[in-house]
Amino acid sequence: MTRHDAIVAKNLTVRYEDFAALVGATLTVHYGESLGIVGPNGSGKSTLLKTIAGLLSPASGELRVLGVSPSHLAHGTIAYVPQVEAVDWSFPATVWDVVAMGRFARLRFWQRFGAHDRAAVRRALELVGMTHLAARPIAHLSGGQQQRAFVARAIAQEPRLLLLDEPTTGVDAATEEALRDIVRRLSADGLTVLTATHDLDRVDEWFDRLLVLDRRVLALGTPSEVVASGAYSAIREHTHTHGHLRHDHEPHAAHAAHPEIKA
């Protein structure tokens, strides 16, 4: 509602045919924060990200992204890294080619791919540690390298909002560590980052705040607030987790932090 809010959703409902994947979600994301979206499979995490990215239209409710409706955003505003990259891995492209695509939304068709664009690609490759792989065809990448290449493409876009859907699924520990570090650095630089994850491990190292979803918003607050709210216990039954958040915290007295409990 204020200029401090990157995303404002009010009573947002999103449907696939007859199935409501997200029901009456009301939430606010601040500028420059790293927000984790947690919840079991089918809880609407991907649906929320896709709706913010303008790939799905809400059935009802209101959604403002950077102050406007998602379809009115300027080109290149949102960078999205989907959960499963359904691309053809035999596509004739090198890592550089893929990361360079991140610049395309920013260029009108008469504009050349210039020095500024190349610099952005180089910076992105460096940030994900893939500079030495720039010339490698994407067909010859490991799963972790593929994921880092797609994150680099998103970074090269220089978006104002970064959406990551399950970025650590199926990647090695080193890549997971690297991604965590990248998200922290980007949000420290002022980028708003939304990350969907079903991995509740070390969420407090990834995120400033957590959104707990199970088709409805169960809680929204700092990791410790969310733990205190009890929303975790509501979802952890069907969520694969081994993190310390699950075991270590005693129930806080009196819910002092008042997380925004919705259900």
Binding site: Y80, P92, V98, F104, L107
Partner: protein
């Protein structure tokens, strides 16, 4: 040398070579998208559907490029619409539409008294019959499609590789898909007289498929495909002149030969790389 220049003594051969060059370059350039977006069946479908337009134009005495062009573009847009909105599978839609439209063309044609010769030339092409006004149409449409490839280059590349992420970044994947289908329809119309309805799919697929064997980047693949395409059409036309065979068939056979040569070259390169 006279062997090379002899065909050019005839004006109709000159026109045929210019048309062959344009068709070869255009089909194989668009073929890069056809291969990477897996549109081969769509291309075949548009070509067959356009037959109805050819026959209607023929019966009305108008230029067949106009009839074929209108039907091809409408079919392409219709296929795109079904692809994005429809609940019927794309394969089924194309299968139904293109055979239905093709049958309509054959039906209308069969009601004419002398149709056998013309039918043959539409099915398999007759590049030697390209008239001056045909050639201007071929060249004009080629320039339009080539300009669209240049103008839409980045958007087409991104939406071909990753339409969902491109869309999220603000690039309209749907609009690019429609644009590409219309470009494909125009390409097919341009090629009908040269290689015919049945063989145009080969020219859309084979040179680009050959190029795909030899490179792992998009722009080089497109450039190499264009070279293979032009070699096939111009070379095929030469060959057909000397062996007195159907030009369309010779062109496609040469393209097929180039494809297998590309595969052989790929394995040869791998083997030598391993040995080194």
């Amino acid at each position: 040398m006279t062997l090379l220049t002899e065909p050019f003594h005839y004006a109709f051969m000159e026109r045929a070579f210019v048309a062959a060059l344009a068709v070869g370059l255009l089909c194989s350039t668009m073929g890069t998208y056809v291969i990477l977006r897996k549109l081969a069946f769509i291309g075949d479908g548009i070509a067959h559907a356009s037959f109805a337009g050819i026959v209607i134009a023929y019966l009305r005495g108008t230029n067949f490029y106009i009839g074929a062009g209108i039907v091809a573009v409408l079919t392409a847009v219709g296929i795109g619409f079904v692809h994005r909105r429809g609940r019927i599978s794309l394969d089924t839609t194309i299968g139904v539409l293109f055979t239905g439209m093709f049958a309509l063309g054959v039906y209308l044609m069969s009601q004419q008294r002398s149709y056998a010769v013309d039918l043959q030339s539409f099915l398999f092409g007759d590049i030697l019959s390209v008239q001056p006004q045909d050639l201007w149409l071929i060249l004009a449409l080629s320039v339009v499609v080539a300009a669209a490839v240049v103008v839409f280059f980045r958007g087409l590349l991104y939406t071909t590789f990753d339409p969902v992420v491109a869309q999220a970044s603000g690039i309209r994947s749907g609009a690019y898909e429609y644009a590409l289908l219309v470009m494909l329809a125009l390409t097919i119309v341009v090629s009908l007289q040269a290689v015919g309805i049945v063989l145009v799919a080969a020219l859309l697929v084979t040179p680009a498929a050959a190029a795909y064997q030899l490179t792992s980047r998009f722009a080089p693949m497109m450039a190499l495909a264009a070279v293979f395409g032009a070699l096939s059409t111009v070379g095929g036309l030469y060959l057909s002149y000397y062996v007195r065979a159907s030009s369309g068939a010779t062109i496609v056979l040469l393209a097929t030969l180039l494809f297998f040569a590309a595969i052989a070259a790929k394995y040869l390169r791998r083997a030598t790389a391993r040995a080194a």
